[in-house]
Amino acid sequence: MTWTELGIVALRVILTFGLLLVVTIINVWAERKIVADMQSRIGPSRAGPFGVLQTVADGLKLFFKESITPRKAELGLYTLAPFLAVIPAFLIFMMVPWGAPVTVGDEVVPLQGADLNIGLLFILAMSSMAVYAVVLAGWSSGSKYPLLGGVRATAQAISYEAAMGLAMVSVVVFTATQGDGGTLSLSEIVARQGGNWGDVAPIFSIVPRWNLVPQLVAFVIFLVAIVAETNRAPFDLVEAEQELVGGYHTEYSGMRFAMFFLAEYINIFSMSAIAATLFLGGWNGPTFDGALPGLVSAALPTVWFLLKTYVIVFIFFWLRATLPRLRYDQLMTLGWKGLIPAALAWIALSAVIFGFRQFGPPWS
């Protein structure tokens, strides 16, 4: 590896990291603003134009606050838990391609933190790791409300992770029929969603070749599962303010709380980004064939990617402002009797359909 290559890799990671931080700051503000609008309020409006800098102000405030440790806390795990929340959150987004590959000199640089060939598997692994943060934070606080939050997190995250993984599997199965062999690499999955569905029937040539069209069921399952996976309303039983004070982060304050908070919003964005990547074609979009100036058309894929992601992020906020929290048994019923059987059935069905299309009838 030469120094240039090393520099490019470092630049990619830093860019991805920076993008994530900036986007998270905007997301926290956007959520507060959108939810305020949906509740006939104004929302943050004091810091900066339209209150955009509210998150910065809040972050600075949290930075200077005391980090309290309860007397009964398990100090090691209690300190570790916030890091365990933030690090997987950042690592998940490293897998997501947020722009078309750029050619620098004679090298093609993919615009993503790391282009692993097991990208999807890595994402699943990291989102499982994030559950440990919640569980350990809840347990190590040595307090009853966080403990209840942590216990709820175990059950909820495990059941919804299954549905999320199964929805991903059907995408992987489908993607395998779209090109040369199967793949778990997100950049490859995005690349296979370029173009349109014109080859199925000429009338479909206006429909972009997104996985959304053949995998609509998986998309709905995935959407519900990621809302539950990120512990967002209406599945926010883990932090349920009205019942559990603050849930797993009740005893956390200052920077440690800020890390949980940051992780939650990073997870919202990266899960939305993954949904956009798997189902909405990632950075694919109209390129206008060089009609635009070079710099604009270079930034265009990133713009498409962010647009698609923000549609899903908006759904997150919209759901939060609309739905009341589910009861625990309703949550489990929806997960185990609704989403998981539906996802399994959909995998079987889509595997049969697309296998049939690809390879012909098994008796031939």
């Binding site: 959108i34 305020a36 609008d37 949906m38 509740q39 006939s40 309020r41 104004i42 409006s45 919209w318 402002a321 609309t322 739905l323």
Partner: protein
Amino acid sequence: MGVVSDFLKALKVTARIMVGTMTGSELVTTPYPDEKRVKPQRFHGRHVLNRYPDGMEKCIGCELCAGVCPADCIYVRGKENDPHNPISPGERYGYVYEINMLRCIFCGLCVEACPTEAITMTHLFEFSTTNRADAVYTREELLMDREGRVPHMFPDDPLVDLSELDTADGWVRATAPSGIAAYEGVKMWQGTPGPADWSPEPTQEEIDRRSEDG
């Protein structure tokens, strides 16, 4: 599919409210320090001690307000008036008058109890302090000057709108006794604090003389 249609209906409601708020038709809150709402006429804000038009203090140091106060936040000590140089028309005047705004529940019972309408409530409600001692309003802060202006502890506070001190609640007007029959038709209450624009109440000698006459 009742659940799904209900779900979509709910999403439609929030979307409608969001668009309405953005265009301003559904917005119900105001950006507070920039824009203040007109308060209801009977709003219970901070107290003031009023004067008669001739400059006499209305408070006669009877301590009824302190006695009726459910939060026990008023402390009054009356003192005998100097007969040659009286401060109030009564025998005594409020020598010490303190209201602890941290304890006050703004029920308005002191205003009701006051026999001379000396204490009234205004529409001013911003009096945050940085220490507890500042929250105890003394006679100097409560009593208006001879021009009818009420001093305030934090006149430079950007949030404090001193013009709110000129509006008093109407609670007393609704419940105040009209007084003695001899004063029928005489205006007994005005909606603003400050020196009243009616004739001063008679001294005890005058009242005695009138009742003897009448």
